[in-house]
């Protein structure tokens, strides 16, 4: 794979808010015409349901950095929206941890 071809030579995305676990949701009402093959593949991957940035990179066999560039472009064009991860310092972290603990115990 030639990352710089996929991203038109860019090595960082147009926005810096994407995390490995940022959840992506594809708009299902925008045409894919005009998108590069990689962006089209990304849209087709995401349309059935939400996936994290890391999963998209894994499924498309692209490095995370390249994937982020593509996603940022697709956010700019309105094709993709995100649900941001929980910032580490939010007061609700205790509740999140409790939910994680409960969820793990339920798997035993």
């Amino acid at each position: 794979m030639r990352p710089y071809v996929v991203t038109d030579g860019r090595s960082h995305p147009t926005r810096n808010t994407l995390d490995l676990v940022t959840l992506l949701i594809a708009a299902d009402d925008l045409p894919l015409t005009g998108l590069s093959p990689e962006k089209r593949a990304l849209m087709e991957l995401c349309r059935p349901g939400a996936l994290s940035v890391a999963e998209v990179a894994g499924h498309l066999a692209l490095p995370v950095s390249v994937t982020k560039v593509l996603i940022a472009d697709l956010m700019d064009s309105g094709h993709v929206v995100t649900r941001a991860p929980i910032p580490s310092a939010r007061p609700s972290e205790t509740r999140i941890l409790q939910e994680v603990l409960d969820g793990l115990r339920a798997r035993l």
Binding site: V21, G49, A54, H59, V64, S65, T67, L97, L101
Partner: protein, 222 residues
Amino acid sequence: MGSAPASEDSPAGGVHLPSGVQTAVKVLIVGHFAVGKTTFVGALSEIRPLRTEEVMTQAGALVDDLAGTKDKTTTTVALDFGRLTLNDSLVLYLFGTPGQQRFTELWQDMTRGALGALVLADTRRLGQSFDVMGVLEELGLPYAVALNDFDDASAEHDLEEVREALDLLPETPLVRCDARDRISSTHALIALVEYLLTRNAGRADGSADSAVSAGDSELEHA
């Protein structure tokens, strides 16, 4: 919060997240080469574990670069990861990655927002765990240590001896696990999360003041 009505269309056979999932959190599974990180992630993941890579270059790190990196370095770090949907709205991702490399930019990206880390260690090579624990401490990311008990190699090791050898803080959890076994690996994660909760509760009690100034810089002192 008000989740949309669940449309249970998962044509890709569970590849995608359930439609109600709102929040994703991550835990890092770290340790030296061949300690069992990928096995651990595979034992717990509900999806076939995926692999991707993070390419680190100076250009890629510029935005967040605080260290003033001068050399133009490029390296590739593999990430093996898996997923556990914990309830209708919460999903946990586990990222397994080698910890030896001191590419702080990568670590900052991976650790930002991470709940904590589980260090997998091998009693036959305890010394190799120091690097990764050092990086976690620099970044202020809380961790627990799990001895991956393959071949019963560590059965004869007293946990207290291991704790001493690793120079762990008294509060740092140290557990045994078999990374091949889902239940055993789940227990190791539970030990980490219980520790994180205790830690959080301690902070909430004694640090009403510091909560006001809680920012990223605070983490550097931890």
